[in-house]
Symmetry: C2
Subunit: 352 residues, 2 copies
């Protein structure tokens, strides 16, 4: 829909748009081996919680297709092994675990009596995750329309568009829906160090969609609120705990604090696949620490002196008290989130 | 003192360490023409409010030395012209204007009856600014010792060391003094987009000084306070208004908001040359907007899509209410700053 295909499944081949080289280069990579899919997730060929979920589901489909197993039990053992490999790729976004679990549950159905029946079911489940993600994104945009005033100046962090999802986007989808509804919105994009997903990917998507936008460094958000004025912030998420605490790309928490200080509404766009009701609070969300090189280098250009120590937290947790509302595909949750999220999750079919 | 000379004046030649190519390259540039000095300030060959002040003072010295004037009146006209050129180089740091003003006032002394007497006085004033800056930095470090606990984890923004001053540093000087006093401090360095002064310059200085440090992206400061724990923040400044509102490198305000949310003391190291008692509040401080290319490119590497719109504010203003104390060379100011800064400024000799 954004004029590009982020994730595609075609006759047993998974094709991913390589986001590491955007916007300079549009390169697609094909996968037929789930080990390579796990590696691609780890190296951020694709990224964004919903995109990781769908990609991992197709990784499971590749495991099923490549099987040498001649009986269901052996195939199910292999699928559990593939699940374990894929789970090791990245720790923070819960969609990865959620999607793998959905596929495993489908494959475990005792009614599936043959290897080919299990294979078909695994592929069908991956396709279902894929299709549901697009629908969820559009539904979030629709629910959020009432939250976005005409002429809104909207501050956004990282990338949450068609590149972070199967298609359309979560937080950028909210901006896109408002734009398509005729509201004259302007998006301010945190560049989002260290990997610059805002400057590279969100700017690329919004340019293609003709949505007015301006890139800023992450440190400028408070200044922008103080001087230019921002009407709302909207961000995606990698995992939302049952109390509303939200893990998202590093820098989200600082943005939430700036919004709070200025009375700017701070919204999280969270498909229910990202909500982890098993965790009581954000303190239990594992935070990935990535290669220092993401901070010390840009491409082959070395920024810091040799051997400079770096702490490269990939995510942070924004406590629920700084979040105005959580936008899901089944409705909008307001504080207290412990109640509202539980109520929304009860509406999700199939139940999670 | 840090094993390098940032600014040197030798027989009519101004030598500057070219900070644009650090830490990869140590390159010195020599100047004999004040127009080129203004250009060097604009292009950030040197930067940091106190360094800009001293550099501009020597720019005035070059104007005096290069004069063809044969009478004091003509020379004073030329000096005023040079002052105007130098004032246009950068708008936010008040030290630039303060240093130029000091030189002009000295040159205007009617007791100076010859061209050569004015020349000597101008050079003497530039040298005085140079020497006073080093003394002020050391005095700030000394005053601040009581504010820095042993084992302190200190968060710092931008570069405020020997590279931002004549020598020693303001906020990094505070960290350095604590380190030299035997306190086991650890500095966390905001990388400071877009020009990465923290990652490039502060890391370079602290490595030379053997002060333990870790570089983080600017968006990680809140996460660090929430998880690792930070004992205090200390930053420099480009201009402090009479009420304590402080203009400093973009991202300072976000850091102050994060510190406020966590009850972390937030200190500004401000030589009195940076305090502008003529401005009632930070709203009157001009904020420089710089070339979008600083955000869209790193060196020759293009980050964003072509023609991506950028808002590149070089500075922001942190309201006084988020500042715990302002450290000057004549003592520490606490809120209410309108009173405490006025009291401190009255102690400064010569009166400003």
């Amino acid at each position: 829909m954004g004029g590009f295909t982020n994730i595609a499944w075609n006759k047993g081949v998974l094709r991913l748009l390589d986001q590491r080289v955007l916007p300079q280069e549009t390169r697609y990579l094909d996968f037929t081996d789930y080990h390579e899919v796990a590696q691609a997730i780890r190296e951020m060929v694709t990224r964004g919680a919903p995109a990781i979920g769908a990609t991992a589901a197709y990784g499971m489909a590749l495991a099923a297709l490549c099987t040498q197993a001649t009986d269901p039990t052996t195939l199910r053992i292999e699928l559990n092994q593939a699940a374990e490999v894929l789970r090791q790729s990245r720790p923070t976004a819960v969609n990865l675990f959620w999607a793998i679990e959905r596929v495993l549950r489908r494959a475990a159905n005792p009614a599936l009596a043959t290897v080919s029946a299990i294979c078909e079911a695994v592929i069908a489940e991956a396709n279902a995750i894929y299709e549901e993600d697009i629908k969820a994104n559009k539904a979030m945009g629709f629910h959020a329309l009432a939250l976005v005033p005409d002429q809104a100046k909207i501050l956004h962090h990282c990338n949450t568009g068609g590149l972070a999802t199967v298609d359309y986007g979560t937080a950028l989808g909210v901006i896109r829906t408002a734009h398509e509804a005729g509201k004259q919105v302007h998006a301010y994009l945190d560049e989002t160090r260290p990997r610059l997903q805002g400057a590279r990917l969100s700017a690329w998507e919004l340019k293609r969609l003709n949505i007015p936008h301006t890139v800023i460094v992450d440190g400028a958000s408070g200044h922008l609120m103080r001087t230019v004025g921002i009407d709302l912030c909207v961000v995606g998420c990698d995992r939302v705990a049952a109390n509303g605490d939200t893990a998202n790309k590093i820098g989200t928490y600082n943005l939430a604090l700036a919004a709070h200080a200025h009375g700017v509404p701070f919204y999280v766009a969270a498909p229910t696949s990202t909500i982890d009701m098993s965790l009581p609070s954000g303190d239990a969300i594992p935070i990935e620490v990535r290669d220092p090189r993401e901070v010390t280098h840009l491409g082959n250009f070395q920024i810091t002196p040799d051997d400079t120590p770096v702490a490269n937290f990939a995510f942070d947790v924004t406590p629920a008290k700084y979040i105005t509302a959580i936008i899901t595909e089944v409705g909008i949750a307001y504080p207290p989130f412990s109640d509202s999220l539980a109520e929304l999750m009860a509406r999700v079919q199939p139940p999670r």
